[in-house]
Amino acid sequence: MTMGDLSDIVNAATAVFKILDSNETEAMGKLASALPRGVDPMATDGNWTRVTTPLLTAVTWKARFPTFRDDDVIRLGVIWTYGGSVGGKGRFIKDAEAYVTVEHISSTFNVDVTVRFAETGTPIGPEPVAMLTGTFNVRRSRTLLGVLPSQFFGFKILGDGSGEMSQL
């Protein structure tokens, strides 16, 4: 396999997944990956390692009157497995999953979170190390007043176990 082949990194789970549906958490239907095109995860080698600590971002809507209501808090998380190679080359990503945990959501609010991983990965460096990006869309609606503006969060996860999330 040539270097060019290793740099053609794709993700097989490109759908938009709703992982928080009206305050109810749901799992992604399919896990994302960043592997050379045509390579099955089972055919890889190297040292696959699950990240021990997921990327986490807490989103808090502060209650105006804390005496009467708790803050609404959700946490966006991304976890993945990294370090596998193809023919001893490269470091790639598999079993990448985005999820939400709910600490508190007021009864008169609905929060929906959707996520999408990019269709292609980005080769970083000559090795290469695969990088896969994705975005969360957090939409909060109030029962009587409709949908409030979306909040977007982007993340980068890499085949060397590093990663970061930010608000867009």
Binding site: V16, F17, T60, F153
Partner: protein, 128 residues
């Protein structure tokens, strides 16, 4: 104070003696207040009458009528405002959410990785 017809005009003792009516802040009536209540008006009662109503006068006014208040009613007092937030206000939020990114980074990204900033949000209206 109530002013119903049951009030009885009782002459002050000063009137019977011809002595001048006391006007200073001393109670010279020789009467006993058995009401057990506290007068917080800061005013002087010169009527020489006994208040047996058992009520507290918080009006801050001076009663010089020489009448006895036996009505058992309490002067109205302004109640302090205890305005509470409406249900709508309680549920409202103060602006955009707070975002805690303190756990949103793992390891150190290479400069090449940091430079990538092509996050796609165009899909946001479609949900699988």
């Amino acid at each position: 104070m109530s002013s119903d017809d049951s009030w009885t005009e009782t002459p002050a003792s000063d009137e019977a003696t011809g002595d001048p009516q006391s006007t200073d802040s001393t109670d010279t009536s020789g009467q006993t207040d058995t009401s057990g209540q506290t007068d917080t008006s800061g005013q002087t009662d010169t009527s020489g009458q006994t208040d047996t109503s058992g009520q507290t006068d918080t009006s801050g006014q001076t009663d010089t009528s020489g009448q006895t208040d036996t009505s058992g009613t309490t002067d109205s007092t302004d109640s302090a405002s205890t305005e509470s937030p409406t249900t709508d206000d309680q549920l409202a939020d103060a602006g955009d959410p707070e975002v805690d990114l303190s756990q949103a980074s793992l390891g150190t990204l290479s400069p090449e990785a940091v430079a990538v900033n092509d996050f796609d949000t165009s899909w946001a209206d479609g949900v699988a």
